[in-house]
Symmetry: D2
Subunit: 349 residues, 4 copies
C-alpha cells in the first residue's frame, strides 16, 4: 500500500500517518520528494481497509500494491485448477461445452434439446429452473419441477447438469439435483449466496456481473474459496457498455487476463454476451481462440417460441455445425474438442 500525501502536508500529518501504519502492525517507509511525500507500507494489510487512511489530514490518496484476492490468485497457486466431473475435466487441455435452453419450459422441450446437444458433442446440459427476470410479469421458471426434468435428462443422456441457484436457502435443494451450481450475473455480489455455495462440495460456475470488474469477480470467487469450496469456474458473459447494438459487450480480454491472474477455469458465454444468435458462432470461435476452457451456449429447438432468451438461442442444427467449427479452432490453438462420430443419415452439414 502506498499513501500519497498532499503537496502541502505538514510534518505532523506525515508523522500521524506513520504512527497509524505502525498501529496496524505494518512498517512505514516514507519517501520525501521535492513536491510531495509518499509513505510506502510494508506488511500484510489485506484485512485492513486501506481507505481509512484517506480520511487522515494531509492524505491525498491511497494506492494498493497487492491484489486483494489471495486464494484465487495464480501467485498463490501457480498450477491450473482442474475440476473433474467423472469423465469431464474442466480446466485441462480439453474444451468443455455447456449447452441447453435458457429455461426449462417443459419435459419435451428439455429432452429434445438434451438429445440434440448430446448428439452434437456437448458435455454439460444447462437449463434454468429458477429464473431471475427483470419483470415480475415474466415467466419465472418451473422451480422444483424443472430440477426433476433436468435430472431425468441426465439419466437418459448421460449429460452433467448445471442450473442456477438464486438464494442461499435453495442451495441444498439445487445441489441435490445439479452437478454444477450456477451463480448468475445479478447475484455475483450476493454474499450470503456466495457463503452458502462455499460450504457445499459442488462445483460452482460463477458468472461475472454485468457491472463488475475482473477484480470484483475474483473477489467473489475468493468468498467461495474462503468457504472451503475450491471448485470454482469463472464465466465471462458480457458487460454493460454504451454500445446498444448487442445485448452486452463481450469482454473477451477477460479470458486471457483471468487465466493470468488466477488458476481457476474460465468459461465464456457468447449467448448472453451478444444477445443475437447470428453472431454467437463467430464469438464462440473467438472465445476458444482467446483461450477459454469452455463455452456455455444457449440452444432451443424452437427459439421463436422460447419463454426467455429466444433471440440468442441457436437451433440444434446450427449448434451442431458450430461444434464442427469449434473443433477446428480448438485444434488450431492446441486444445482438443472430441466430437461423437455422427450417425450418418443423409447430409449432416
Amino acid at each position: 500500500m502506498i499513501i500519497v500525501m498532499k503537496t502541502n502536508s505538514t510534518a505532523a500529518e506525515i508523522g500521524a500517518v506513520i504512527a497509524r501504519v505502525q498501529d496496524i502492525g505494518a512498517s512505514p517507509h516514507p519517501i520525501y520528494g521535492a513536491e510531495r511525500t509518499v509513505v510506502a507500507v510494508v506488511g500484510e494489510t489485506r484485512a485492513f481497509d486501506p481507505t481509512a487512511f484517506k480520511q487522515m489530514p494531509g492524505v491525498e490518496r491511497i494506492t494498493s500494491i497487492s491484489a486483494p484476492f489471495k486464494l484465487a490468485s495464480r501467485e498463490s497457486h501457480p498450477d491450473n485448477t482442474i475440476i473433474q466431473l467423472n469423465d469431464v475435466r474442466i480446466g485441462g487441455p480439453e474444451i468443455v461445452i455447456i449447452a441447453g435452453p435458457c429455461s426449462v419450459e417443459s419435459r419435451s422441450q428439455l429432452l429434445e434439446t438434451a438429445h440434440a446437444v448430446k448428439e452434437a458433442g456437448a458435455h454439460i446440459l444447462r437449463g434454468g429452473a429458477f429464473k431471475p427476470r427483470s419483470s415480475p410479469y415474466s415467466f419465472q421458471g418451473l422451480g422444483l419441477k424443472g430440477l426433476e426434468i433436468l435430472a431425468e435428462a441426465r439419466e437418459i443422456y448421460g449429460l452433467h447438469i448445471v442450473t442456477e441457484v438464486m438464494n442461499s436457502q435453495a442451495v441444498p435443494m439445487v445441489a441435490e439435483y445439479a452437478d454444477i451450481l450456477q451463480i448468475g450475473a445479478r447475484n455475483m455480489q450476493n454474499y450470503g449466496l456466495l457463503h452458502a455455495v462455499g460450504r457445499v462440495q459442488r462445483p460452482v460456475l460463477l458468472k461475472r456481473g454485468m457491472m463488475s470488474s475482473m477484480e470484483e469477480l475474483l473477489m467473489s470467487a475468493e468468498y467461495i474459496l474462503a468457504g472451503g469450496n475450491y471448485k470454482v469456474m469463472l464465466c465471462e458473459r458480457g458487460i454493460r457498455s454504451f454500445e446498444k447494438y448487442t445485448r452486452n459487450t463481450f469482454d473477451l480480454n477477460a479470458v486471457p487476463v483471468l487465466k493470468q491472474l488466477s488458476h481457476l477455469p474460465v468459461i465464456a458465454d457468447p449467448s448472453h454476451a451478444t444477445g443475437r444468435w447470428d453472431v454467437v458462432p463467430a464469438m464462440a470461435r473467438a472465445a476458444i481462440a482467446a483461450g477459454a476452457d469452455g463455452l456455455m451456449i444457449e440452444v432451443h429447438p424452437h427459439p421463436s417460441r422460447a419463454l426467455s432468451d429466444g433471440p440468442q438461442s441457436l437451433k440444434p442444427q446450427v449448434f451442431a455445425e458450430l461444434m464442427q467449427q469449434l473443433k477446428r479452432v480448438a485444434a488450431a490453438v492446441d486444445r482438443t474438442l472430441e466430437l461423437p462420430t455422427p450417425v450418418l443419415q443423409g447430409d449432416v452439414r
Copy 2:
C-alpha cells in the same frame, strides 16, 4: 410494440408474424413502406416476452412502445406517493434527511453519531448492521447486535431507523427493528429479496444498482409494489462509468426523470455517489436543487477510524453546516427543511 421486418422479408414471413400477433390476442397493423414493412401491435402485451418475435424469420428487431412497469408509473398513479412515518413525511414538500454512519461499529460510535445528526436536524438514522463487502476479509457488520444498538438510538433520540436487509430470510428480523428496510445497490435485482419485502408492511428504500438503468430500477420497484407493499422510495446513489476520479458517477438526471416517470419519492445519496467527503456538500445541495425528496448522507464522528466508507463520511460539524446550507437551497426551490433551534454554546458555524 412495433415489429420491424427486414428489407428483404417475404410476404409469407410477414404473414407469419401477423398470425403470431393474433395468436397472443393482440391486433396487428402492418404498414408497408418502400424499403420495409413494420407491424404495429395493438393490445396488452406486457405479460408476453416481445423478444420471442425477434427469432421469427424475416424479423429485424422489436421496439417497445409502453413502459414495462405499470404500478410504479405516474401514468397509472398521477399523484405523488407520500410515505408517512409518524411526524415525518417522505414525498411531500418537506425535505427528509437520512444520516448516520456506513456501519454500526459500536454502541458509543452510533449513539454519538445519532446525537449529532439529531441535533443538526436529521429525521432518520442510517447504519448498517449487515454489510455487503467485496472482500471476504473485510468487516461484515455487527449483525443482530447492530440492530439492537440502532433500536436503542431510536429510543433515545426519537429518530427513525433505516438499515439494510441482505437476504429474504432476514426480512422478518430486520423488519422488527427497522422503520425502513434498505435494499442495497448490489441487491437491486435480487428478486427473492424484492418478493420478501413486497410482503411486509415496512417502507422500503430501494437503491439503484450501480449499473442499472432507471427503467430497471422502476421494474425492481414494480416487484415490490406487485407484492402489495406500496411504500417504496427510489434512491439514486451513483452509477459506474469510465470516470475514476470519483467513486461513482452521480446520475442526478435520474432525480427529475424518475419524478416524471413515477409517483414514488426519490432520495439521493451523495456519499456513495461521490466517494469523497469534500464534494459531498456540493452534491447534496445539487440534489435538492434537482428536486430530490430527501438525502442520505454518511456521517461518522471519526471518519479516519471508520471500518468502512471513511473517505466519504462527513464529520458531525461539517454535516451541521451542510444542513444550514440545505435549508437555504430547499427554500430556493420551494421546499422546506426545518432545523431545530440550535442550543447556543459558542459559535455554531
Copy 3:
C-alpha cells in the same frame, strides 16, 4: 511515480529498473516487502512516458503520483482564474448565463432568440455557425453567414458571442467574429485545434468529450495554456454511459472536482447533458447549487422547427422563468445572478 515489481522479480531485474530511473535523471528508492518490491521514483518525470518502464522485465505496473497537468492545476495557481469580457466576469462570484440556439438557422431566428435571452438576463449569446453532425446528410450550419448574423446580434443587443470553431484553419476567421471560441466535445482531443486556439488571445470554452475523463479534460486545457492562452473555461456537458433515457449522463460531480483540481472557471451545459428540455430547468438549478460558475442553455423560439437539438431547447418563456429560479438558487449558495428589471406588461410568470 511508483514502479511495482512482480512478486517473483529477480535482484537483477530490480537493479535494471533502478539503473533506468537514474538514467532519466530521477532518484530511485527501492522498498523491499515480504511479497514484492516497489521502487519509488523521486524527481520531475512529467516529460517522461512512465509506461516505458512497464515493458521492463520483472515490472508489474506503474502508478503515477503527480497529476500530469501543471499549468491547469490549482496547486500551481491557487487563486481562481477570472476571465473578463467588458462588464462580464467569468469565474467570480457572479453566475454567467450563456444562452441561444444550437445552430444559427436564419437572421430572424437568431435575432428573435437574442432579444428574448437578453431580456431574460443572459450575458452571452451562443449559436453554431459550423455544426459537427454525425450524419453527412444533416444541416451543417450557415458558415460565415452565420458568423455575420451573430455579430449583428451582438451589435443590437450588447451580448457577447460564443460559437464553435471546428478546425485550426478556421480559427482566425471565427476569432474575428466571436468573443469566445468554443471547442466542441468531439474536438476536445483535436490537438492541432488546441494548439491553434492556444496561440490567439480569445477566451476558449473547452467542452469535455463525451468519452473523456476529467484528467483528460484538464490535459486538453493544458495544451491551450501551454500555448500561451490562459483564458480557458471548462465545460461539463454530459458523458456517455449505459443509461439511455437521457441523451447523456450529466456528471455534475465534475463541477466541484474540477474546481478543486483547477483554477479555471467551470461552466455546465444542462441542455446537452440531458437532451430533454423538460429536465433542463431542474439540472440547471442543480448545476448552480453544485458550484458551477455559469451555464450554457439552448433556447429556441420554435423548438419543434429547430434544425438541430430541438428536443433539448427551451422556449423563451420557459427560459425566462428558469432565470428567476436560478437567481434564487444562486443566492442560496452565496453567488449572484442579477436580472434586468422586467418591463411590466401583464403577468411575467
Copy 4:
C-alpha cells in the same frame, strides 16, 4: 420512423403531427391503441432530423426504423468491398497483417522493425509520424521526417505503408507518402478531416472512437463514402468501459456485427484494445476467429525504450511466433494467411 404519442395526447396534437409528416413529403399512418397512438411515417426521411418531432406537443418519443447510413450498408451493397493494393487484397479470404511501431522514432528503429515484420509475413507497415498525445509534454512524432523514413522502408522491404493523418491540411502531404491514410480514434468524428479524406483516392483505415457506437462508426464511414472515396476499412480498437485492468475493452462483437451491417473490410487492433503485450497474442487469434479481415499489431524492437505504447508492443520474435499461430487459426475458419518460408537459422519455434 415511428412517432409515439403520449397516453394523454389530444386529437389536435395527433392531427398536428400528421400534418407535419405530410409537410416533409412523407406519408403518415396513425395507429390508435387503447392506451396510446403511434404514427408510422413512410417515405425517405434520412435528410430530415427526426428529433424535431420530439418537441411537438403530445409527442413522447421517436423511433427510427431505417439505419441512418446508406452507402456503408450491406443492404445497399450486398457484396464485400475488396480494397486492392497491388498484390495485397483487403476484404477477401486472405487475412491482412499490418504491423510496426506506434511511432516512427528513428530511421534505424523503423528499418529494423520493417525488416522483422516483413520476414515474419506482415503485408503492411504501420508507424506514426504525427502522434496525437494526451499530454502536450509528450513526444509528438517526427512529422515529415517520419514520412520520409516510412517511404524508405517501403522501398527497401516492399511493404505498403499506413500512417495517421491528423488534420485536413495535412491530407495531401500524407497521401503523397502513405498507401493508406489512418484516421485515429480521437478523430473519428472530425468531420472536416473525414471530408478531406473523402476527396482523395487513397484507401482509409477508419478507427472506431473509444466511446463511439458501431452506428456512429458507420456514419463516419458514410462521410468518406459520400465524398467519393469508396476504399474505407473499419477498425475496431477497443472501447472505453468501467474495466480498468486493460487499457480498453476489446469489443470483438463489433467484428461480426460490422460485417453484417456493412460491406466494408473490418480490421482489429488488439494492441490498443488491450494495452498489454502479454494478452495481444490471445486476442489477435480471437479476432481472426471472430471473422476479422485483418489485424493491426504494434511491434517494436525494444519495447522498453519505445517513446509511446511500449507496454502493448510485441518484440519481433513474439510477433513471428504469433504469425505462425494466426496462420493456423485462419485456416480453421477457412481464411488464408500465407507466410514466407523461413530462412532456417537455428530454431524459429
